[in-house]
């Protein structure tokens, strides 16, 4: 009897085993895009998703892109910011932030 075929692990519709490498790859591409534009242009999540669709045709769907953004945020390579709308940027200290005694 042959072993059952291993299909990976599906979480929220994403096969995390099969797609992990792709998600990482897309996260890296998003990070590069954000880093290259730092200080000049702010990107929203959808801007990144649209750019990735062009860069990875047929692969970078909504779920994969959302996972990639999650990786960028939880790894602290990027942060969410709010300046009128919500953006994804490199971590930085904003000009208005007053230092506190606590840190």
């Amino acid at each position: 009897m042959s072993a059952p075929e291993f299909d990976g692990v599906i979480i929220k519709g994403i096969n995390i085993m099969a797609d992990k490498a792709l998600v990482e790859q897309i996260a890296d591409a998003m990070y590069k895009m954000i880093k290259d534009a730092a200080g000049q242009k702010q990107y929203k999540a959808m801007d990144l998703q649209k750019a990735m669709r062009e860069l990875f045709p047929g692969k970078a769907d909504k779920k994969i892109c959302r996972e990639a953004i999650k990786i960028l945020i939880t790894s602290e390579r990027c942060i969410y910011t709010y300046f009128g709308g919500s953006y994804i940027e490199l971590p930085h200290v904003e000009g208005a932030a007053n230092p506190t005694k606590e840190g």
């Binding site: 999650k70 709308g85 919500s86 007053n98």
Partner: protein
């Protein structure tokens, strides 16, 4: 700066009226809290100079979340060091705002230690709004809230915390279970609530009946307003009782104030032309012992309301005239089970094509309702028309009918 626990000058004026005063509350908090003391000083400065000294937004937040914390810094940190950071946290309220006293006590105790000890129940979004803390306290506050069973609400370009009226928990007019819907949508869209994916904010509000106690028609992008499909239930004896015993002037107070003039009163009997009733609830509110909504209940879904920020205020307009909210569902009419698909279609289109900081109502205005309906796969229906000749997006394609006729 000397410790200030009492407001003076223009700010003190706000403590003199007969109404509850937020300044009095800040004064009370200032007895024990340095942030509240500096808040009085800063507010006085703003009132005297007619200038705002807060900077709002920025990059503060808790790990992994893109919403829930609204950064606030003061531009006079030397004068008022205790409010140099004064961040706001939105806390996701329980559906219908029901709490155990113990839960509120825990939040109060935590906020006295970690924040300004001032909070707002409830903000216009519906959340509990914790006012004023420093950046290093954000993660500890979030951890404490999590241990208490609370989560942060929405802020920024996210799905804002879904909000509902008290619904069937306390109100006889609830046409569907608003509490259940608000809870289920909150749980279903956790990702959208905490991680900004949209062009701008998006709000759900659930009202159990057309009285619309949470003002969903004016304050939410997607309004769910309870309604009914069949005829208003009339207790004829009670109508007479209103006229004879309560001396209610039914003609003046009820019939003449019906917006669609669908009622008639002959002194003995009330007649309602239900086909022309717009379900405004006026007659039912006035004669609630005699009239009741029909038995076939559900909700109307409307889309596009917003307050004036970038552009003027808008009321939402009808998208789905009637959605059944509880089983048994009919295959030929929209049901609660279809809701995720509808929401997804709207978000997909608006997310792809919406401009930065463009609300869904503004987006519909820009692209046109007919294009919007086409793109999300909905057929235009008569109920979408607000006023005759004012909604140019409903087209009757006579040519199609002729073609069909020819084929037959």
């Amino acid at each position: 700066m000397a410790e200030t626990t009492k407001a003076t000058g223009k700010l003190a004026e706000l403590t003199t009226g007969p109404y509850p005063s937020f300044v009095k509350e800040i004064e009370a908090a200032a007895e024990n809290n340095k942030m509240a003391q500096d808040l009085i000083g800063l507010l006085e400065l703003s009132y005297n100079e007619k200038l705002c000294h807060w900077k709002h937004g920025g990059i503060v937040g808790v790990m992994g979340y893109g919403g829930g914390v609204i950064g606030r810094y003061c531009d006079e940190p030397e004068k008022f060091p205790n409010v140099s950071h004064f961040h706001t946290l939105r806390v996701n309220q329980p559906a219908g705002w029901f709490y155990k006293t113990e839960a509120l006590r825990k939040i109060c105790d935590m906020w006295e230690v970690r924040g300004s000890s001032i909070f707002n129940i409830h903000g216009s979004t519906g959340d509990i709004v914790l006012l004023g803390t420093t950046t290093p306290q954000l993660e500890p506050v979030f951890n404490d809230l999590t241990k208490m069973g609370f989560d942060l609400g929405g802020s920024g370009s996210v799905l804002r915390t879904p909000s509902c009226c008290v619904g069937p928990a306390r109100c006889e007019w609830a046409m569907y279970d608003t509490l259940k819907c608000a809870y289920e949508q909150t749980m279903a869209f956790q990702d959208e609530l905490h991680r900004p994916y949209f062009p701008y904010k998006f709000k759900f509000k659930f009202s159990g009946c057309p009285n619309d106690c949470v003002a969903s028609i004016a304050r939410s992008d997607m309004s769910f307003i309870g309604t009914w499909k069949d005829d208003i239930q009339i207790d004829k004896d009670k109508v007479l009782w209103y006229a004879e015993e309560k001396k209610l002037d039914i003609q003046n107070v009820v019939v003449d104030r019906c917006p669609t003039k669908c009622m008639a009163w002959d002194g003995k009997e009330l007649h309602i032309d239900n086909r022309n009733c717009s379900r405004c609830m006026h007659c039912i509110n006035v004669m609630h012992l005699a009239l009741k909504p029909g038995k076939e209940r559900g909700c109307t879904i409307l889309l596009g309301a917003k307050a004036p920020i970038l552009e003027g205020a808008q009321m939402s307009s009808v998208l789905i005239p009637f959605m059944k909210m509880e089983p048994p569902y009919n295959e030929d009419e929209p049901s609660y089970e279809d809701l995720p698909e509808l929401i997804d279609a709207i978000w997909e289109l608006w997310g792809e094509e919406g401009k930065n900081r463009e609300r869904v109502g503004e987006f519909i205005q820009r692209i046109g309702m007919s294009n919007f309906l086409d793109a999300i796969g909905l057929e235009p229906v008569a109920e979408m028309v607000k006023h005759p000749r004012e909604n140019p997006y409903v087209f009757y394609e006579l040519g199609d009918d002729e073609d069909e006729g020819e084929e037959e």
